[in-house]
Symmetry: C2
Subunit: 454 residues, 2 copies
């Protein structure tokens, strides 16, 4: 449907691709296979000029496919080439990647990156550098894969004072938890399956420790709350010590266990409303909560805004094509110039935001799930209840299961809202009881607003 006149107006945009791994090759796919669709939609003709790889001899197919591109190891020359107008940093890591991004920005060339590790630690510095050189950084692909959550926080929800952000932001962990929940698998079996299916790295530590989720939360919360927040400031607990027992017991009580990344205003009025609590940990979620339905490698991010109320963004949080979809979305905004306008003018990026005022994690108010292994002897429940009561914690439910597994009986307790510090103190006291076989298992419970009828 493109007319000749329109074709004449097509503008070519030279792209330099740093890295040709999973995401990089997805970007190549979209830019080559959807070239005509993109040209019709945007009036832009994206031309890959450079692909930087470790070993060009291993990419002969790519060279045949991209006749106008140079496949090389020389990132510097590729970035400096006047025909490079946009740099896509998809190599990962935090050293060479940072050098390359800085080099591009200093030439005034916009950068698009999916590098959450880098941005969550050095984002403020890189954003400031981009502004100094009157250019911009696109990072939609760094959080939530193909889900346009970054763009939504930057603009779509900009009229809202955000009160909370609650997300499933790590597809690997969600895949593992889904297998454990729906198929009754152990953590080790589910992890092995995730690795086999390509959802987990050979070294899964970054994912299963919760650190990847914390990095994404740092970025998303900085946009939502207009603060500077490093992932190191986020209280983080992974899924690597989760036991099948707890998933099964939680299920009996109507809960599903999810790894949630949560940032919320600490509540209260006046000064305390400016404080945030930010945390990543396994969490009991009601089965009728929409987050409980998010299975496999999908991500979902709930945002609570003062005007919008509850909104949720759901989709593939990782993987080649979803992430490449986000990169190309950024590429369009950067090439058109709309991204630069928003990046330069909005004061919501970490470089212009004040440091987050975080409430210490001990001051969290939460409900808790507590599983104890108690000796089957008189008075144990009374001792536990006493320890909790002494710290001002009141119980919501107790389940003591019958067992023929010897002298240890599993006792599951859920609490009403309690203080994290008090809970930890009670837990130390309980673990020290001679009638308890430590360690007790403590998992937080989240109650999201019910929205059934209205």
């Amino acid at each position: 449907m493109t007319t000749t006149a329109e074709l004449l107006k097509t503008r070519t945009v030279g792209v330099c691709l740093l890295g040709h791994g999973i995401v990089g090759s997805g970007v190549v796919k979209i830019l080559t296979q959807q070239r005509e669709m993109l040209r019709q939609r945007t009036g832009l003709n994206f031309q890959i000029r450079h692909v930087i790889v470790r070993d060009p001899t291993r990419h002969s197919t790519l060279a045949g496919q991209l006749r106008e591109a140079t496949i090389s190891v020389d990132a510097t020359a590729a970035i400096d080439d006047p025909q490079t107008q946009v740099v896509l940093e998809l190599m990962g890591g935090t050293t060479t990647a940072a050098d390359c991004i800085q080099r591009a920005l200093k030439l005034g060339k916009p950068v698009i990156t999916a590098n959450k590790s880098l941005l969550s630690t050095r984002g403020a510095e890189l954003f400031a550098l981009a502004k100094t050189y009157k250019t911009c950084i696109g990072f939609e692909a760094s959080c939530g894969g193909g889900v346009p959550i970054v763009q939504s926080l930057i603009k779509g929800l900009a009229a809202n004072r955000i009160d909370a952000l609650v997300g499933i932001v790590n597809g690997t962990c969600n895949f593992i938890l889904t297998q454990m929940t729906r198929l009754g698998w152990t953590y080790d079996a589910a992890l092995a399956e995730a690795q086999k299916a390509g959802f987990a790295e050979a070294d899964p530590a970054l994912d299963v420790s919760g650190r990847d989720a914390a990095q994404k939360l740092a970025l998303l919360a900085s946009l939502a709350f207009n603060v500077r927040l490093g992932d190191g400031e986020i209280s983080t607990e992974g899924i690597d010590r989760l036991q099948q027992t707890d998933i099964a017991l939680a299920g009996e009580m109507g809960y599903v266990i999810k790894l949630l990344a949560i940032a919320e205003r600490a509540g209260g009025s006046g000064d305390s409303a400016d404080y945030l609590i930010a945390r990543v940990h396994p969490t009991l979620v009601h089965k009728d909560d929409v987050l409980a339905e998010v299975g496999g490698s999908f991500n979902a991010i709930s945002v609570f805004g003062h005007a919008l109320g509850h909104a949720l963004f759901y989709g593939r949080g990782a993987g080649q094509m979803p992430t490449a979809s986000a990169v190309v979305s950024d590429l369009i905004g950067v090439a058109l110039g709309s991204t630069l306008i928003e990046f330069s003018n909005l004061r919501i990026f970490p470089d212009t935001s004040p440091a987050a005022r975080l409430l210490p994690f001990e001051q969290l108010q939460s409900r808790y799930y507590l599983r104890l292994s108690a000796k089957d002897e008189p008075g144990v429940l009374a001792q536990i209840a006493l320890a909790l009561g002494q710290h001002g914690i009141s119980l919501s439910a107790i389940h003591q299961h019958e067992t023929d597994q010897g002298q240890l009986v599993p006792v599951v307790i859920t609490t009403h809202l309690a203080n994290e510090g008090a809970m930890q103190a009670a837990l130390r006291q309980i673990n020290a009881l001679s009638s308890i076989a430590p360690p007790a298992v403590l998992i937080r419970i989240i109650d999201q607003p019910r929205e059934f009828a209205r």
Copy 2:
């Protein structure tokens, strides 16, 4: 945290508000109560210069609240005022509203509107006019309330060839259906409750007939598929004849009934891939489908993209503050200039798109739910099965319930994929059977991709 230097850079943007109804007063709330937050985030100081109402004497409180604004009936003068830089059309209707929008555009002033009725019929003309005068139209609020679905289709998902769009886009209908499903209410009782709760107009026809959903689908599909599509071209069936019986029977079979707006590629390869099918009708959705969980006045829009896969956008689809949230989001983009860039350059709006090539509704391939009232006599099921078989329709399940309600027995049939035209022909044949008390109830079933484990 705003420094003096930053404050000095703040730019004032004069806003003219046409209409001070539900949404208009929500916009006033955000612009006044969140003025400081918006200024910090955007560097913009939105100043409401004019509010156009039917009877200014009834808005004395507003006049006190907005000291720098003129409250009047004179839209023309307000639009023409050099201090008006952006016009918000929130009066609704398609005559005066269109005149006002045209007047503003001809002055080169950007317009923001929530008016889906107007845009779904005259969008192409108005968009073209905006381009002639080098300005733009923001219409995030016209679909999905506060959910940034328009922005996501324009930019976030722009790298995707969209294959299908499936949405719950009318909060009134979803509220009524939720009450009927969860509380067992009749349609009339649920409608009365919706009216009482402010979710339905005194004249609910636009909503319950499915026409409002068709207007939104026309807009969303035009962006998703880059075609020009009027709501009159969309096959539309409302919820006003839905019976509690069918909701209950569907529930027994594991389905929930939702009013869905669906636009999808007609499938197949070659030429047929360019055809769309667009339709709005009550639909049986599996209980484990995420759309089944969307309750009350919430909206949810599923988008299936070739790169992204399945993504879903969920939130308040109507109501004062959610819609106002979308209006103010547009206001920010328009005032910064990023909206103009995307509006002018992207060729995805109805004015630059070719007319949609729609497959006739009779060529739809769907599964069906069919409820018949059959006389309790021998051979009836055989006659029904014969009628269906003669039209090439194969059955998936049959449920015949026992009854003590006299001679008529409810028979529920679900089919495998069948052709709509064949189904209608079979239905005519069945309705003509002497053993059947017409009319039979026919509801379409949707099977969305299962995404459980991965």
